[in-house]
């Protein structure tokens, strides 16, 4: 038998349904910590049920703010994703399948279809630990946020660097830059999630990468990211920079392994420690780079 979180109807939160970002922020400023912004509510509800955070007095639903649910490509090929878009809708979108295949792959590995019919991309990113973040990081995504009066745009990686603030902002957009189509044949992407089960539990480790090779087989561009569990996903900028211009080789893979193990800021929990997570992230990234080495025509790539 299900037991409601609060027995008395009067103790249930009030729900506000603003139709603009300004209105949502006005309500948030008015109620402060007593209110939370809510999109699909799938992450928040899990926290309330588990007692990780209390059921707030006010829920400010973002569902009726139309400006938060667009999906379009601009003249420069940049994709604009509304944060309120459901993961299932993103997966179904032809535009996303064509232009953001890595993100579609990442969506498909979150929870089950029924949760993806409710959960939004913005909710995933704003949690700062969502599994979509690693994919978005290697896609060089930017986020747009508003405090109700002014809007700013930041690279997602920079936005994640700033600790979560108590004061609130609405994420109003996620932008993904155009990928150079000419490079498509020499560009390789991967997204891997390792969990205790295939779905439903926070991942132990999530990694994503994008690697493009120059005609002479050297690395032209490289983006690598790791996250999982309570870790805030991050890129390996120094490692990436050091690898550019070099050919894929055993030496390079070894230095990537060491670099990822050392650089990944893993967070332990009852199920997996830091050492395990670091090694898993390094193994996954290196094995994917090795596959690229072989696929990319690396004549000297060893068979194993």
């Amino acid at each position: 038998m299900s037991v409601p979180l609060y027995q008395v109807p009067e103790q249930q939160p009030s729900v506000w349904q603003p139709t603009s970002v300004e209105e949502a922020m006005h309500l948030k400023h008015k109620w402060g910590d007593k209110a939370v912004l809510i999109s699909g509510g799938t992450w928040l509800r899990t926290r309330w049920e588990n007692g990780v955070s209390p059921l707030p007095q006010h829920l400010i639903s973002l569902a009726h703010i139309q400006a938060l649910s667009g999906l379009a490509m601009d003249a420069g090929g940049q994709i604009h994703i509304g944060p309120s878009l459901r993961l299932a809708d993103l997966m179904d979108s032809e535009l996303m399948q064509m232009k953001c295949a890595l993100l579609v792959k990442a969506c498909a590995e979150i929870a089950a279809p029924s949760v993806r019919n409710l959960a939004s991309i913005g909710g995933n990113v704003v949690t700062r630990t969502g599994d979509l973040i690693t994919a978005l990081l290697v896609m060089d995504a930017q986020v747009v946020c508003s405090n109700g009066t002014a809007e700013y745009t930041l690279p997602l990686a920079k936005w994640l660097d700033v600790p979560a603030q108590a004061i609130s902002e609405v994420m109003t957009g996620i932008k993904v830059p155009n990928i150079d189509i000419e490079d498509a044949e020499r560009t390789f992407e991967f997204y891997l999630k390792v969990g205790r089960r295939e779905a439903f539990t926070p991942s132990v480790v999530t990694v994503a990468g994008r690697l493009s090779l120059a005609p002479d087989q050297t690395i032209q561009s490289l983006a690598l990211a790791a996250g999982g569990g309570s870790a805030v996903p991050a890129r390996f900028v120094d490692l990436e920079t050091a690898a550019i211009g070099r050919p894929l080789s055993k030496d390079l893979l070894q230095s990537l392994h060491t670099g990822v193990s050392e650089g990944f800021q893993a967070v332990p929990d009852d199920y997996a420690g830091v050492a395990y997570r670091k090694q898993t992230a390094a193994n996954l990234i290196v094995s994917e780079c090795y596959k690229v080495w072989r696929k990319g025509g690396g004549a000297n790539a060893p068979k194993s």
Partner: protein
Amino acid sequence: MINTTYVLKCAINGKAVAIPVPASKRMSDILRDDLLLTGTKVSCEIGRCGACMVLLDGKPVNSCLLMAYQAAGREVTTIEGISAGEDLHPVQQAMLEEGGLQCGYCTAGMVVTLTALWEINPAPTRAEAEQALCGNICRCTGYEGIFRAVERCGLSIKREG
């Protein structure tokens, strides 16, 4: 603002309803406690087991995650709304014929999920069926009876093709 005086207006199993409930009340509680539609089961309460599955505008969602205000103006279909009167839905018929249940606790949720799949893909491959059912946990059957039922639902279509 909408509060405890909120009246949820939506369609449940094809009938328009107007129920006074707190706007944040969970749909699983509304169905079972307010509307006595107890075919929808509740187990984990956090979107993991699929026992509470309903269709929202034809798509499966976990009713333990769905709040009243999120269903406003929309169409909710529960296990009670899957069959057409006395006639069982092909998915229900196949579950019976293939013994796709033991204790039956997961069955309502399984049937709801499979009905949504059947609507768009009546003859899914095993992989498609596994993907669709990955949010429905069964502790009893070992899934083979359930997958046999999925296959049986699609037999006529496969034969025609």
